[in-house]
């Protein structure tokens, strides 16, 4: 080895993952039925070509600006900052996107890819319904038939979003197997895909599933972090010190974190749903309560029993109610690049109310988990530290759930 090469500090880049086989360290990969393999390889090829194509990027950017309404604001939450008395708190307002959450960023990217591949039918799974609504939206925009798989239990607790999807022309198919929530909806979507592999594109809603999905969903969502870097530079002239995001599958968090993975001064915090508490069996904290395993096309941390059977997740938030997590998070957890914490149902509800009354923003129950964590973290930080929390969804869809928990009948 030449002398100069040895002197280079080979600090590995966290942004270099996944490898060509879709592995994030030991996680990720392509654990799918053979029938799907040729298609998954074709999606990967199409994606690699698309992202080098300036026309693809241009169309994506233009839809982000004119249809989604990006960039979403970076808002200084002054009253909350004063109330908590620590770090300066900013909200990344991804709840102001068209359809009310960050999910649309990824759906725009994937439907452009589906069209490039000549696919004519769209399927998706949804938990809280935000990804279902975003998928139904882009399917309407691109005039493609769309089928959304949704757990029967989630249909019950997310009625407004079910109606939205139907208004947008999608067919919502209730899934009655298993726990009737997100994981079962994903099983059913995979069954549809393997059956209709010739004409169907599966728009996966989070940074999970077989390669290349965790990578491409992250890439489409990483616009969040790129905007934060620019906006923080404009407002404060420097990098943020702390980034906080909630995690179900982890797409809003990866979207926020990815830009900053190789910035050692930026602390990253992911917040899992602790449901009724990590000490109970009713939670959705795959990293802190799970073990590595293989499900839904990837190796990652999973809630499971000793026999490798997947156990049911629980969270007040349908969007976090999933027994797995994106493989990149699993890898960042093991590498300790991201600090993963939790918030319980009760803490999320308190944060939900706090956000409504302090900032005049009704947040989704998902980012309410991130906010619950912020109420613990921010007071422990000094006033000159900058904290950004991804307010990744708005709470209109959750008012029935919240009313129920507060004992109010609507």
């Amino acid at each position: 080895m030449p002398e100069t090469a040895r002197k280079i500090d080979h600090q590995p880049s966290f942004r270099a993952m996944p490898d060509t086989q879709g592995h994030f360290g030991m996680f990720g990969g392509r654990f799918v039925a053979e029938t799907l393999m040729p298609l998954i390889l074709a999606v990967e090829d199409a994606y690699h070509t698309a992202r080098r194509d300036p026309d693809f990027q241009k169309e994506f950017d233009s839809l982000m600006t004119d249809y989604v309404g990006r960039p979403s604001p970076l808002y200084f939450a002054k009253r909350l900052t004063d109330k908590l008395g620590g770090a300066k708190i900013y909200f990344k307002r991804d709840e102001l996107n068209h359809t009310g959450a960050h999910k649309i960023n990824n759906c725009i990217g994937q439907i452009l890819l589906a069209r490039r591949m000549g696919k004519t039918r769209i399927i998706a799974e949804t938990g809280a319904g935000q990804h279902g609504v975003a998928t139904a939206t882009v399917a309407a925009l691109f005039n493609m038939p769309c089928i959304i798989y949704m757990g029967a239990h989630d249909i019950e607790r997310q009625k407004p979003n079910v109606f939205r999807m139907k208004l947008l022309g999608a067919e919502v198919r209730p899934v009655t197997s298993g726990s009737q929530s997100l994981k079962d909806a994903m099983n059913e979507a995979l069954r549809d895909w393997v059956t209709n592999v010739h004409d169907t594109f599966y728009i996966i809603g989070t940074v999970a599933g077989p390669h290349p999905y965790p990578m491409l969903v992250r890439d489409f969502q990483s616009i969040i972090g790129r905007e934060v870097r620019q906006q923080m530079h404009d407002k404060e002239g420097r990098l943020p010190d702390h980034l906080v995001a909630c995690i179900g599958g982890g797409s809003n968090a990866m979207g926020l974190f990815y830009e900053f993975l190789d910035e050692p001064s930026v602390a990253l915090h992911g917040v899992e749903a602790a449901g009724e508490g990590l000490h109970t069996s009713k939670h959705a904290a795959s990293l802190q309560g799970g073990k590595p395993g293989v499900l839904h096309g990837n190796r990652t941390y999973l809630l499971q029993d000793d026999d490798g059977q997947i156990t049911e997740a629980h969270s007040i938030s349908a969007g976090l109610d999933y027994p797995g997590i994106g493989p990149e998070h699993a890898s960042l957890f093991d590498a300790r690049r991201v600090t993963y914490g939790t918030a319980t149902d009760a803490e999320a509800l308190e944060a939900f109310k706090l956000c409504c009354r302090t900032e005049g923003i009704i947040p989704a129950l998902e980012p309410a988990h991130a906010l619950a964590y912020v109420t613990q973290l921010a007071p422990a930080l000094s006033r000159d530290e900058l904290l950004v929390m991804n307010l990744c969804g708005r709470g209109d869809k959750d008012i029935f759930t919240v009313a129920h928990h507060l004992g109010v009948s609507l």
Binding site: Q21, T35, G178, M186, R191, V194, T195, G293, Q304
Partner: protein, 268 residues
């Protein structure tokens, strides 16, 4: 190292110029005892190879019949260790009928691939099919199994390109499992002409025996594949016989075995 029991069985089928019958049931469905009774009776009813499903909570390649079987088995307390016990019980009576376990990777991964290979070999398992381990990911499971002479059976499907077939065939052992349709188990019928044509193409390109499965439910369909495959796999249709007699549990084993006997009648 390939498995001698599977090789011997296909050699015998070839010598007899006969299509083999592979029967699928889920281990522990509807419970351990009844499953054991069915399992022990299968060889005499004409099962040439026994495929035993390893129950999993999230069987995403399976249709409603096998999903339900998996849930019944799990709620009756089935797990990987008990599945291997079932095989060991069979082996005390039968030394020649190959047993192939079919399932999803997570229970094997959780058990530990090395301990699984060791215990499966000790129980008398001959082959393993892992639905969600394509060639890109299967080395970590295939190699430990090969070291104890358990075949890792790979799948070929209607979406398999000629180029990909070479990749699949390269490290396949025992036999190739041809999935006759794009879909999940037990929901549609295979298209006979397309399947025969695909099998003919496949067998001209590979040396291993080929078993065709998915969408094969009746003795007539089996008869229609005469000469086109080395063996046929029937799964959901057998599992439905178990399902039909859930309210009359004393009849389950007999009804299921009689159905297998009827299927074997299609082999000629």
């Amino acid at each position: 190292m390939s498995n001698p029991r599977i090789a011997a069985r296909f050699a015998a089928l070839k010598a007899a110029n006969r299509l083999g019958l592979v029967t699928f049931i889920t281990a522990g469905d509807p419970n351990y005892e009844t499953c054991q009774e069915i399992l022990l009776g299968l060889p005499a009813m004409g099962a040439d190879i026994i495929e035993l499903g390893m129950p999993f909570s999230d069987p995403m390649a399976d249709g409603p019949a096998i999903q339900a079987a998996s849930l019944r088995a799990l709620s009756s307390g089935m797990n990987v260790a008990r599945t291997l016990e079932l095989v060991a019980e069979l082996r005390t009576q039968n030394k020649t009928t190959p047993v192939v376990l079919m399932g999803y990777y997570n229970p094997i991964y959780r058990y530990g691939v090395q301990p699984f290979a060791r215990d499966a070999a000790a129980a008398g398992v001959d082959g393993v099919i892992v639905v969600d381990l394509p060639p890109e990911e299967d080395a970590e499971c295939r190699e430990p199994l090969a070291s104890v002479a358990i075949d890792f059976i790979r799948l070929v499907t209607p979406t398999t390109t000629p180029q990909r077939l070479q990749t699949i065939a390269a490290h396949a052992s025992g036999f190739l499992y041809y999935v006759t349709l794009t879909g999940v188990t037990g929901t549609q019928d295979m298209a006979v002409d397309d399947t025969r044509e695909a099998l003919q193409r496949l067998r001209s390109q590979v040396k291993l025996p080929v078993a065709a499965g998915f969408g094969i439910k009746s003795a007539q369909q089996i008869a229609a594949l005469q000469g086109a495959a080395d063996a046929v796999v029937v799964g959901s249709a057998i599992v439905r016989e178990i399902e039909k007699t859930l309210n009359t549990p004393k009849e389950t084993a007999n009804a299921t075995l009689q159905f297998v006997k009827h299927l074997a009648g299609g082999l000629v």
